[in-house]
Structure formats: C-alpha cells, structure tokens
C-alpha cells in the first residue's frame, strides 16, 4: 500500500514542482511587469466652459479689409466715419504694432486702400483713436491715446497726441506726455467755454495710474488736473448722464479695482466734479476690458455696456464664467443697476446697434480670450434684444480669433448695421489670424 502511495507521489512530483514554481512565478511576473502595464481605460471626462453658441440667424459675411495677415496684428481701437465719397464708410484704426493711425477706404474695384495719418512720426503704441474737429477749423483731426507699447511697464511712456489736420497734411502734437500708459482720451467742452477739453485714462504701470482732466485754454494749451490717483482706468466715455445739460464722464477702472466711477460736472468744468461709484465688484478678477455709453433701453438716459474678459495675469489665460457683457441701467439720480446680459469668455469689446431692424438696440461683442482650444469657440457674437432687454447670444464667427475691438455701423450703406472688428493677436494659438474684418449684415435671416 505504502509503495503504491509512494509511486503516486513520485508520479505527481513534477506536477507539484511545476505548480509550486507557478505559484512563485505568478507574483514575480506581476511584480516585474506591473510598471509596464498600459492603461487602456476611457479618458476621464473634461468639463469645459461654454465657448460656442447658436449660429446667428443673420448670415453675416466676412470681408477682410487688410487680407491675409501672416502673423498676429495688434489693432487696439477702431472707429467708423463717413467717407469722402459718401458711399461705404471709412474705418480708422489705431495700430499698436506699427505705431500708426490708418484710415481705410473702400475703392470702386472692391478693394480697400490704406492711408497712414501720422506720416511725420511714429506713435508709441496708439491704443485709442477719436476722429474729431478738435480745433474747430472744419476738418477732421484725430485724438490719439498712446499706451507706449504692448509690454507692461512702469515707465512714463504714455502720451496723448493730436493729429492736427492742416489742409490734409497731419502734424502730430503732443498734448500730454511724461505719464504712464494711457488707454483712453475723450473730448468734450466740459467748462462750456467753446473749446474742447479732455478727460484721460492713465492706466498706469504697476499700480500708479491717474484719471486726468485737461482744460483747454483755447490755444491747445492744456492744464492737467488730477481728478483721481488710481490705477487701471481703461475707458472714460463722455455724456450727459444726469440729463442736466452739461457733460459728465465715467471711468471704468480695472486692475483689481473693478469699478465704474462717474464724475458729475457741476456745470463749470470738472475740477470740482462730484464722484459717484456707480458700479463696484469685489471680484478683482472680473476682467473689465471696455465700456461704452448708450441708451440701451431707449428710455432717454445714457446707460453703459461693459466688456468683461481681460485675463492677463498668467502666461496662459482662462475664460471665466463671469466673463461676458454687463449692462449698467441708468435708473436716474446717479444710481445704476447692473445686469449680466451675456456670458462669453474673454470679451474685450462691445458696441450697440440694431442688427435685426426691429427698432430695439442689440449688442455686438468680440472675444480676445475665449477657450481657443475649442475649435468652434466664438470670437464674434451679437446679442439679440427681445425689446425688453432680454438678450439671446448668437455666434457670428469663430475665425479670426483674439479680437480686441469692435465698431458697428452701416459700413456698406445698404440700410443694415454691420460689425467691424480689430485683431490683437499676441498669444497662443498662432492660428486664425485676423486684421480688420467686416462682418456684413445681409439684412435677412437664414
């Protein structure tokens, strides 16, 4: 019996050995190859901010005024004005890249010609331009605010210049220099003495900026009054915001302040202007980037539209959920109520116009910092007003990208409001370059 058992053991010995080896090898093999196991699971879900919107029912047609740019253009501001021929409108652009202010005119063959206004000397980073008959001699001069350059600096590089029209030859006159970066200069006869004075947004460098009032003595000599020492002033739109017959102005202040301060004219100029904080947010990251005055609800007083989308703190920007467009509704007596009327990442410029011809005021907006890693991310949108200031966002374009400024008007004289955009493309991605592009409104829905 014992021998039988023994012979069975003998027979099973190789099997037993093999099993013992396997028992030891399996963990060893797993240990050795553990590091080389390739994960083949599904990629984890990514939750993204909404970057694209319903395509516009109005089919805007893109026309590039300066076609086929090979690299990023740096247009900081543009304005529309009637052309000499009175057909298509002209476009005036402040070009931070070249240091020039240019006027683009539509030619009979359908092309656009470009004329440099400041032929006598280059300007340091022209960031804002206003066509105006500044000296009252019947021709158009240009008021230009200069930021100094696109790189932030604390140096005194800002300037306000007047491109004075002397029978078609423009002379560049420095109205203000030795200040930090200037982002806006607006004009108005604030002291009712018959000449044009200025309000200036000195954005600043690090944290030193100013809001200035430049009083004109009638001979283009200006006395500068500092109304406020505050950094981050971007735009200073002028208007009669309290309907009392004189000109006031408001300053949009970013740079972690994120507020709008209105300066009420007591009637004799702005030296003793009363300040009203008409909008303020504790959100230092709100990203205020631009402001225009308009009577959006057509109730007889001036409201404001604010673009929210600045995001330059880090080398790579991120669209924020609060970016978009805010409407500050003028409720009278220097009270304003804020409404978010669109949420779109990286909005930098806004402009009002009636695009669908229904009598109410819609809004166009352009994005500099949407989430461009999404291929269809909107760069141009328009916000349709239902007549009661409820807005629907329509996507006009996702190409070109990185747009900083927008102006609206009937550029081709066909009875409908068009959109003109300016590109400020200095960050990734280096694709979908634009320059100055018109989005022509055919006046019909799809």
């Amino acid at each position: 019996m014992g021998s039988i058992l023994n012979s069975g053991r003998e027979k099973n010995r190789p099997l037993a050995a093999a099993l013992v080896v396997s028992m030891l090898v399996i963990p060893a093999v797993f240990y050795i190859f553990n590091g080389k196991i390739q994960a083949r699971g599904k990629p984890i879900d990514v939750e993204r901010i909404q970057a694209n919107f319903d395509p516009s029912e109005i089919e805007f047609n893109r026309e590039s005024l300066v076609p086929n740019p090979e690299f990023g253009q740096l247009y900081a501001n543009l304005k529309l004005l009637p052309s000499a021929e009175g057909d298509w409108m002209d476009v005036v652009a402040a070009d931070c890249r070249t240091g020039q202010v240019t006027r683009l005119s539509h030619e009979a063959d359908g092309s656009w010609s470009e004329t440099v206004i400041n032929q006598d000397r280059l300007l340091p980073g022209p960031g804002g331009v206003n066509p105006v008959d500044f000296d009252g001699d019947g021709d158009i001069d240009y008021l230009v605010s200069c930021i100094g350059g696109i790189q932030p600096t604390n140096d005194l590089v800002g300037r306000v210049c007047l491109l004075k029209n002397n029978d078609g030859v423009f002379e560049t006159i420095d109205i203000l220099d030795s200040v930090r970066r200037v982002t806006d200069a607006q004009h108005g006869d604030f002291d009712n003495d018959g000449d044009l004075d200025l309000v200036v947004a000195v954005f600043g460098g690090l944290l030193q900026g100013q809001i200035l009032y430049l009083e004109n003595d009638g001979n283009l000599n200006f006395t500068d009054h500092e109304l406020m020492n505050i950094s981050g002033a971007i735009h200073v739109p002028v208007g009669d915001f309290d309907n009392d017959g004189d000109l006031d102005f408001a300053a949009l202040v970013s740079q972690e302040e994120e507020e709008v301060i209105a300066f009420e004219n007591p009637g004799d100029g702005l030296v003793n202007a009363k300040r009203h904080w008409i909008f303020s947010s504790s959100n230092f990251d709100l990203g205020t980037a631009g402001m225009v005055a308009t009577d959006l609800d057509q109730d007889g007083d001036q409201d404001f539209l604010i673009a929210l989308g600045d995001n330059l703190e880090l080398i790579n920007n991120a669209a924020q959920p609060w970016h978009g467009v805010k409407w500050l509704e003028n409720k009278g007596d220097w009270t304003f109520e804020a409404h978010q009327i669109a949420s779109v990442g990286g909005i930098y410029g806004v402009a009002p116009a009636d695009f669908d011809g229904d009598g109410d005021i819609d809004v166009a907006a352009v994005s500099m910092f949407n989430d461009w890693s999404q291929d269809q991310a909107a760069s141009v949108v328009w916000l349709e007003n239902d007549g009661n200031q409820n807005f629907k966002t329509w996507q006009v374009a996702s190409d070109p990208i990185q747009l900083s400024c927008v102006a609206c008007g009937d550029i081709n004289n066909d009875g409908t409001a068009d959109i003109v955009t300016g590109s400020f493309h200095f960050r990734r991605p280096y694709t979908k370059f634009g320059s100055i592009d018109a989005f022509l409104n055919p006046g019909r829905a799809k």
Partner: protein, 454 residues
C-alpha cells in the same frame, strides 16, 4: 500529495484572481484627458503626449495636472487634478493644486473646498491656502466671508491689506488705516499702501492729504509680496520644464555660453516653431556677436515688422546701422527711439545722438539739447526709483544744457523735494510754471508744498 497539490492549485487560483483583478484595475483604469494639441507648437505637443502616455502612478497624475495647467489646458488640468486627488486623498499638495486650478477656471466654491482640505491635511502653506480662500470669496462677491478668511490668514501682509481694502469699501476708514499701518510695518514702502492711503484720504474729503499720498505712491515700485505671485512663478517654472519653453531656455543658454554654432541651430529650431521675443533677441545678439551684421539687420527688420518699433529695437537698429557705416540711417533710428519712448533704451538713444552731434563742431548745440533730453530721462528714472541724488544730478544737467525746458525744472524740483530741500523745490516748480504756466504736475507739487508749509 494530492492534498498539497490541491492547496497549491487553490493558492494559484487565488493569485490569478488577485493579480488578474490588479491587472484589470491597472489596465482598465481611466486614462488622462487628451487636450487639443493642434493649438501648440510641436515641442510642447510631443512632451505633453509623452507625459500623458506615461501617466500611471498617482504622482504622474499630479505632475500631468501641473503640466496641463502650465501649458494653459485648464479644463484638462482640472480633470487630471481631480483624478490625482482621488488617487491621493491624503495629499495636501494635490488638494492645494486642485484648489488653485479650480480657482483659475472660476469654480471658486469647489476651489475653496480643496484649499480647505489642503489646510486640514496639513499643507505647510496653510495661511496661503486661507488667503486664496479669501480671494475666492471676493471673486464670488462675498466680502463678508472673505473678511473672515483674511482675518484667519492675517499673518500674510497681503491678506491684511485685502482686509483693509474691504473695510475701506465698507467705509470703515479708521480701522482700514490702522491695518494699513501694520502692513507698512511689515512691507515698508510698498506701492499699494500709498495708493490705498490716498483713496482713504479722498473718501474722507482730505484732497490735499490724498494728493500727498499720490505723490509718494508715484515713486514706489515694490509691491506687497503675494502668494499668487509665488504660484505664478511656480507655473512659469513648470512651463520651462518641458516643450517650447524648455527648448527656448536651452537655446538662450547656448547663446549666453557663446557656443555659437550649436546656439544658432537651436535658436533657429525654436523660432521655426514660434516667434518668441526673448529668443529672437538672443538671435539678434548672437548675429551681432559673431559679426553677421547683414543677418542681424534682417532679423531686426523682421522684428519691427511683427511687433512694431520700440526704443529698445530702434537702439539696436541704430547700432547695427552704425556698424555698417550707415551713420545717417543710424541717427534716424536713434531719434525714432527717443520719440517713441522714455525708457532706458530711449536714454541710450539720447546718448548715441548726443555723442554723434558732439563729434561734429557745427552741431555742438544739438548735442547739448540731446544731452539735456537724456538727462531728463535719467532724472525721471531716478525719481521713479527714489534715487533722488542721481535724479538731482541729472536734472541739474538738464537745466544747464537746456534752461528753457519746463520739464527739466519740474524734475529738478521733484528731486529736491525727495532730498528734503523744500525751498529749492518751490523755486524750481515756480520756474517751471514761468516757462509753462499749465504744467499740471508742477502746479500740484507747488500746491502740496504750500499746503504743507501752512
């Protein structure tokens, strides 16, 4: 024997089940998200793809999140950090980074939950996390909770400053000022403190006091140390560990080491991918250094074409033209450099122009004028940096070379003010106003001086 075999078989079966399960877990675990790499250069694309494909361990997920965030793929970074947090629930560093990333995409409530977790897990920079919580409450238009958080993070001077700012906005000006005094004790001479003091005085209706603070603020340039600045530096550092910025760093290092041939190849490789200003600057310097003047000139022209003129590039353009013997063209470039800016390069342009005219007998007066402009620019710089002795010396030169310049007298006055010479300053401002009665800054300074003497 049979029993032993049976036991072995059972052990093998258990092993198969356990290791099979472990394999399954590992092989079929979720993989990192794939960002749209078409929008970046090929160096970055290659490295991010490598990082993604080799992400296995929890630490890999953490690094991938940091790399995605540094490259600007915030949505992907957010998802990746969330997975890292699942895999390393006890890591305060992952929680902190996740909190920072969520804050960057505006998910402030979720971000705060992660910062809170980082604090509870013992993150060594708990006060920073609390400061970020306060900032997120501000983003969420919730100053009340921001105040609570900043009070907890009060050992950080910037948190104390934020607290002062909240109180200023609430109109509690005395308490705001007390806090501000404490901030000044910790972070002397910082620009924000003077700006906020000016705003407080303005809200009190003390215009003269506000103006005094404004003038002080004007010459300050140091900011209060910021935890956000630290995170920003970390992001930049991560950015230079891979992809385009790593290659750019390597290329510029080769230029600095004068390994000219290798440097040239590397710089070209980088610029073929993306036009980077710093790398392009290196390329220009390299070409000038090795005497490739024609190539340097082409690069400078390309640079102006793409980014427009600045005094820095115009200074280099002038220098290169001078090297080629095109003196008149060099002069034109330097003059444009002065016209367009007032920074250090503009000052150097002034020096070049003054030297140019100084070498020609007929143009001595022009040389003096440009020396005066240069001295004014140096004086401005001295005032900005509060180096008043230097500013005074330069402003005195500016006045000497061009006694008709109102700006020169203003700068002389400012430097004298900085040196405590108030009587002399008043004389200089008065002279400035005689030359230019509407000089607003001189008017302001004189008004402040008169207010002080009263």
């Amino acid at each position: 024997m049979r029993r032993e075999i049976s036991i072995t078989l059972v052990v093998i079966a258990i092993e198969c089940i356990v290791f099979g399960y472990l394999y399954y877990q590992k092989a079929f675990q979720p993989t990192p998200p794939q960002p749209n790499l078409a929008v970046v250069d090929s160096f970055t694309e290659e490295d991010l793809t490598f990082f993604r494909d080799t992400t296995k361990e929890p630490e890999d997920w953490h690094w991938l999140g940091q790399a995605y965030m540094a490259a600007g793929y915030y949505a992907e970074a957010k998802a990746t950090f969330a997975r890292a947090a699942e895999l390393m629930p006890e890591s305060p560093w992952v929680a902190f980074d996740n909190g920072f990333c969520l804050s960057r995409v505006g998910q402030v409530v979720e971000g705060n939950a992660e910062f809170q977790r980082a604090i509870e897990l013992g993150h060594p920079k708990a006060a920073d996390a609390m400061y970020f919580i306060g900032r997120n409450h501000l983003r969420n238009e919730d100053p009340e909770n921001a105040e609570i958080a900043f009070r907890k993070a009060v050992k950080i001077p910037l948190a104390k400053f934020e607290l002062a700012k909240i109180l200023y906005r609430l109109g509690e000006l005395d308490e705001a000022e007390t806090l501000l005094t404490e901030v000044v004790r910790a972070e002397k001479g910082t620009v924000q403190t003077f700006v906020l003091r000016s705003q407080i005085e303005l809200k009190r209706g003390n215009v003269a006091g506000a103006e005094k603070q404004s003038i002080e603020a004007d010459s300050k340039w140091v900011r209060i140390k910021s935890p956000f600045g630290e995170q920003r530096s970390r992001l930049m550092e991560n950015n230079s560990k891979f992809g385009f910025y790593l290659k750019a760093k390597e290329a510029m290092a080769k230029v600095a080491q004068h390994e000219n041939r290798v440097a040239r190849t590397k710089v070209k490789e980088v610029l073929d991918q993306e036009f980077d200003l710093m790398v392009h600057d290196s390329f220009i310097k390299l070409d000038i250094f090795v005497g490739r003047v024609k190539e340097a000139l082409e690069l400078i022209e390309e640079r102006i074409e793409r980014f427009g003129p600045s005094s820095s590039i115009l200074l280099t353009l002038g220098d290169v033209r001078k090297m080629r013997g095109d003196d008149e063209l060099a002069l034109e470039a330097w003059k444009q450099g002065i016209d367009i800016n007032s920074d250090k390069s503009a000052r150097d342009c002034c020096k070049r122009v003054a030297d140019f005219y100084g070498g020609q007998l007929a143009d001595k007066q022009k040389s003096l004028l440009y020396q005066a402009v240069g001295a004014e620019l140096y004086a401005k710089e001295g005032i900005l940096l509060e180096e008043f002795e230097l500013a005074n010396k330069q402003a005195s030169l500016a006045v000497k070379y061009n006694p008709e310049s109102a700006e020169a007298f203003y700068l002389l006055g400012r430097s004298e003010l900085g040196l405590g010479m108030t009587d002399a300053a008043a004389i200089s401002f008065t002279r400035c106003l005689e030359l230019e009665p509407t000089h607003g800054r001189a008017l302001l300074c004189l008004k402040t001086l008169e207010g002080t003497s009263k």
